[in-house]
Amino acid sequence: MTAAPILQVSRLSKNFGGVRALNQVSFDLKPGELLGVIGPNGSGKTTLVNLITRFVKPTSGSVLFKGKKISHLPPYKIVRLGIARTFQMVKPFYHLPAYKNMIIPLYSPRMNQLAGGTYGDRDAVALDLLEEVGFERDAYVAYKVAGALPQGYLKRLELAKAIALQPELYILDELFSGLSLAEVASIVPIIEKIRMAGKSIIMIEHRLKELFRIADRVIVMNYGEKIADGPAEIVMADEAVKSAYLGTEAD
């Protein structure tokens, strides 16, 4: 028997004016699964995330989370149900110290739902969470102004903000982009830890090598449509995928 899917996306579409950004995309996500979403630029990956979290209204189609329809809810309610995302463009609160950036997710009503109360000292919790994602406490990185942090730390801060919400499903939008190999290597264990805790993850990535090492399954998008779905090695052998990435040979 297979477990009921935690997320069911069916026939999701989005038109921006006359442009069909996403066309009838459907997939299921099993609990504890790590799903990679890949595809060339402009293929609709981020639109897919925006539609699931409903930062953008779908034109048609539906999204079910744990069997319940969420595609009509406002985005903040979807977060409260247990879906947390990161943004591709990290925009922290630049003039605040990094740990103060964590206060806003810790202020979330989801904290009430989970623990039956809010944290008394959010600063302390914030520092703990940041240490978990690699803000070395001894180096006082967490106290530095967010605007002065390098990209690697900003991405980790973004991830920590999602972790603070203790979601069931993480949607990580190009977490690895703009990072060095060493920085990616230091973030991968954090993601593995989230997986070990049984949480589901959707990762949108351009860094295929790193993604394939941790993903259970991969979806390939092209021109707003899903063109392949399956384990990484099978998907990458697919002719349609090859042509999407490398282009078709000219006659």
Binding site: F55, Y76, I104, P105, Y107, S108, K161
Partner: protein
Amino acid sequence: MKNRKERIDRGIKARSSDIFALLSWREMLYLAAPRVLPVVGCLVLPLVLGAYWQKVLLSVAVFALLAISWDILAQTGMVSLGQALFFGVGAYLSGVMNHYWGLNPLITIPIASVMGGLICTLLLLPVLRLRGIYFSMVTLIIPLILVRVVEATKIFGGTEGLSGMTPLPSKWIELYLVMAVLLTALFGFRRMMDSDYGLVLKGINDNDRSVINAGINIYWFKAQSLFIAGALGAFCGAFMTHVYMFVGMPVFALDYSILPIAAAIVGGPGTLAGATLGAFILVPLSEALRGFGGLRIVLYGAFLVIFIVALPEGIFHYLQRKYHQFERWTEVEK
């Protein structure tokens, strides 16, 4: 060799930042002075000023409160061009309650503040989704609409307005009521904006998507901020109704929208203290220039430009920096 100016925190700032401040009077004074000075100033000023400048002080305090109200909204990401809306709604509410029902000013003022806050929040609720200049335009237009409504329908005395309001029992009650509200609002809301709640409000200004992504309903928080600002503005209107003993169309005048913004910008936005300081500089300045007749507005405008060009960060930020830091020139290697 090149020189570069560097800013360094004064030693006393670090020494007074913790429990160690209690070790000496100097450190305690360093912490207390910026807080005690405005309190003492506000309480002593009414006693030392003459009758004319006491009246000016009332209008200073009212503009300071309007500027604080503007600053709270601006920090939540809503730049209002219509403080006159809050002011006018409070003024009319208080005026109507006093004129038609004969209620005491000490009852009408608090009721008008709360009701005014609610009414302004409800009026602006449909446009909370708008951001930036679009929100500002709506706030600018609503008071203009309300003026025409009063004019066209002739309600509440129409163009004549309502006069013969009950004044407050004495000028001392007037002065100390508005000073007490100003000090409470200044210190109370400064504390609020520094709390975690205030951080969420400021977060909406910086990056509202990130706040939504924390499962927070930003429209609910924006509405709360709007209510706070609206109630503050409505208090000013209700208070001035009983000072002037009159309420009429001028309460929606553009002055009440623009001057608070000028005060907040000159004083330094984002601190509330800057907004207050700005009002304490600009309003008396405008009064002092009365002797110049027609040139008054020219000189006033020139002063505004000088302040903004010379100290774009705002007077309060400048003073704060000088208080906490010193500057020195250092040599930089080529």
